[in-house]
């Protein structure tokens, strides 16, 4: 009996081994990234080509803004390019949506273009699955895009995705509370210095007669949705050097701005008690419904909500620090093209991505521009004074190079930020602790 059982077990293992070896771990890999001799370059394909486009938040036949806009844009594109047929696959805007995309990539399914955000771009670039856009950029394009637009997608001089827009972070101010406390609003021409900002925040932190607490400032701080990033750059510090090869946030400029950030919570006490760990939905509710926060640093996506709630507000630039000029930060929306064997498909995919990130599409599709565009010729975002200010901030953006550090290191970095704000460590301690490991990973990537 026992011998039979072991025999059975061995048989099963053998069967599995045989079938496992017959199937490669991943589907046969496409040609390695690089320009094959018979490339089509930028000319559109002459014979019919069909490409697959993974778009976020798209539901075929859906009536929400995102689906309608995408469908219209693709319709116009196909009209202008009759030889290209685009099949759209929708994925939701959640981490599971990422998983769906990545599972398809890992399994070698057909994907030609997909929507990606700047935090996620580095990983895809590192894996070698993307197709470089630089050969498809005309001189006109290069002059049209802001310089900072490519910062986020450039590795070693090569650009790996088409930039669509950037969620330039700014401060939203509740003008009612400002008026109530007699605090003057700064303007874009005459923005606040750091000290002026802190003084104002202190004035705006008080307890109402009915006991509700109002705080001067807050921002989403949960790792993965950190929106106080601009404050880390106001003294000239940054996380990585411009070429992405050195970890520099433990330098004086980096540390001083982190100290400033922490001081808001620890020294000046102008933030609510959950600052440092609070999520985006909660801070937006605090600003909009509770009105328990006078200033919220957040992304342009919040503007339609504030307008819908009819809350009187103003857009302020982040305060100026030791650097002496305006800075902002934000996440990019981009379109990435997958490197595939069929070069005709790749070229067609680049055409689509170029169209979707051009200035023409905003006129073809009403309501397309949901965040400030990255081309000088694209002015369709600035439809209200508030949006105009945000659009003007884009140029002052400081963005990190796309470096794919491990998820573990990323989460340790987030933990370090939290420990600084919560007062568990000083900024210098936290960054010094992180520096050796961070640098080690960077070095390994740059070999």
């Amino acid at each position: 009996m026992k011998r039979f059982t072991t025999f059975l077990a061995l048989l099963i293992v053998l069967a599995l081994l045989v079938s496992a070896c017959a199937v490669p771990v991943a589907a046969p890999a496409a040609a390695p990234a690089g320009e094959p001799a018979a490339a089509d370059g930028a000319a559109p394909a002459a014979e019919p080509v069909s490409i697959v486009f993974y778009q976020r938040g798209y539901v075929e036949g859906g009536t929400d803004a995102g689906s309608v806009n995408t469908a219209k844009a693709i319709e116009v594109f196909e009209q202008n390019n009759p030889t290209i047929d685009v099949q759209i696959v929708g994925i939701p805007w959640t981490a599971e949506g990422d998983t769906k995309l990545e599972t398809a990539l890992a399994a070698g399914s057909d994907i030609n273009v997909f929507r990606v955000t700047s935090p996620n771009l580095p990983r895809y670039a590192k894996q070698g699955v993307l197709s470089e856009i630089t050969p498809y950029l005309t001189d006109e394009d290069k002059a049209d895009f802001y310089e900072s637009a490519f910062q986020v997608a450039t590795v070693d001089g090569k650009v790996w995705a088409w930039p669509l827009w950037v969620t330039a972070i700014s401060i939203f101010a509740n003008t009612d509370i400002f008026a109530e406390r007699g605090v003057e609003l700064p303007t874009l021409e005459k923005p606040w210095t750091w000290d002026e900002f802190v003084a104002a925040a202190k004035e705006l932190t008080f307890v109402r007669d009915d006991g509700t607490e109002v705080s001067g400032f807050t921002a989403s701080s949960k790792w993965g949705a950190v929106e106080y990033y601009p404050l880390m750059y106001i003294d000239g510090g940054r996380i990585l050097s411009a070429d992405g090869k050195q970890f520099v946030q433990n330098q004086p400029e980096g540390v001083s701005s982190l100290d400033k950030l922490a001081s808001l919570a620890l020294e000046h006490k102008v933030t609510p008690p959950d600052f440092g760990t609070v999520d985006q939905a909660t801070v937006r509710s605090q600003f909009l419904e509770q009105k328990s926060v006078a200033m919220l640093m957040s992304t342009p996506g919040f503007v339609p909500e504030i307008e819908k709630a009819a809350l009187p507000f103003a857009v302020l630039a982040p305060p100026i620090g030791d650097l002496g000029k305006l800075v902002t930060n934000g996440a990019f929306g981009l379109f990435a093209v997958v490197d595939v064997e069929d070069k005709a498909k790749e070229a067609a995919a680049h055409e689509l991505a170029k169209y979707l990130t051009g200035s023409q599409v905003a006129t073809d599709v009403a309501g397309w521009q949901l965040a400030p565009g990255l081309r000088r010729s694209n002015t369709s975002y600035a439809t209200t004074p508030a949006r105009e200010i945000i659009a003007k901030l884009v140029e002052s953006g400081v963005y990190e190079a796309p470096v794919a550090v491990s998820a573990e290191l990323g989460s340790r970095y987030g933990a370090a930020l939290q420990s600084i704000i919560l007062g568990e460590q000083t900024a210098q301690e936290a960054m010094d602790e992180l520096a050796p490991d961070y640098q080690a990973e960077l070095d390994a990537l740059n070999q």
Binding site: I12, L16, A20, V25, A29, W223, S411, A416
Partner: protein
């Protein structure tokens, strides 16, 4: 006297005759299992010994395991998950058993109602439940701090304080009586034949005595099932923690499955993720083995 050796053909025939029905009964499940679970798991098992990314793979032997055990975050996650699982399993078994016991003497109607009340929360998605708890724990307006304020106690930073975040997560899990346990224990307690109790009563047993010497031992199969299932669920906790704290603050609540998910779908390091999964599996399997040792009996009513 030597018995004549039985020819192979007859041995096979006898084997088949004796066992063919058993195999027939398990065939549908086992075929599906091997196809859709066995094979992918085996595949994943092989991945643990390779360095795998989106476009390539190569064999690296035990390197993935080496990397795992030298990673601070992995060891911390293991610890958090262990603490969480142990507390939750114990609390869940005790609370569901207690509730099922208290429900027992009541009428069918009342039992039905209570059972529904305890099971229904599990039909909502875990995302919703986690969001509700975030609000309950909110420092300024949350329900818990509101209660504390009523009795004059200072407010607690439930999910923001690195030292108590894990405890808050455990609290949020165990405060809700597990519907699965209540439902199962109810069904099982209900199946115990009356006569056993009647016989005990004749001999003058008290309620407590009946409980301890009849009910609890006869519930061993159910208890074993729940213990194993809860242990697996406890060790595989992910969404709940991820939504409420994202693994923070300061990575003090990161769980093992969260790490696996990040390694697989953020780093595309499928090999290392598989290795992590294997380590997790080894731990759960060991614990289950011990549970089976203690609780497995051939109990028949």
């Amino acid at each position: 006297m030597m018995a004549k050796p039985i020819p192979l053909r007859r041995r096979v025939a006898r084997f088949w005759h004796r066992h063919k029905w058993s195999y027939f009964f398990i065939a549908p499940s086992m075929i599906l299992f091997f196809l859709f679970i066995g094979y992918p798991v085996f595949h994943a098992f092989l991945l643990a010994f390779q360095k795998v990314s989106l476009r390539q793979s190569e064999w690296v032997g035990l390197k993935n395991f080496q990397d795992i055990f030298t990673s601070r975050l992995f060891l911390d996650s293991m610890w958090h998950t262990l603490v969480y699982a142990v507390c939750v399993v114990a609390a869940w078994i005790i609370s569901s058993l207690a509730v099922a016991a208290f429900l027992q003497p009541m009428t069918n109607r009342v039992q039905s109602l209570f059972r529904g009340a305890f099971y229904l929360p599990y039909v909502t998605s875990i995302i919703v439940i986690s969001l509700v708890w975030i609000y309950i724990f909110q420092p300024q307006y949350g329900f818990f701090n509101y209660l504390l304020g009523l009795v004059g106690l200072p407010r607690v930073l439930w999910l923001q304080d690195p030292d108590i975040a894990l405890f808050s997560l455990i609290l949020s899990t165990i405060l809700i009586v597990p519907g699965t346990g209540v439902v199962l224990y109810s069904a099982s307690i209900g199946s115990i034949p009356r006569e056993l109790y009647e016989a005990a009563e004749v001999e003058g047993a008290t309620a407590w005595h009946k409980w301890v010497s009849i009910t609890v031992p006869l519930l061993k199969p159910t208890t074993l099932y729940l213990m194993v299932i809860y242990t697996i669920a406890g060790f595989q906790v992910f969404e709940r923690v991820y939504i409420m704290t994202g693994g923070g603050p300061i990575n003090r609540t990161t769980t093992i499955v969260q790490l696996i998910y990040m390694t697989a779908f953020s780093d595309f390091n499928f090999g290392r993720a598989s290795a992590q999964a294997l380590v997790l599996f080894a731990i759960i399997a060991t614990i289950s083995f011990v549970q089976f040792r203690f609780l497995s009996t051939d109990v028949e009513y």
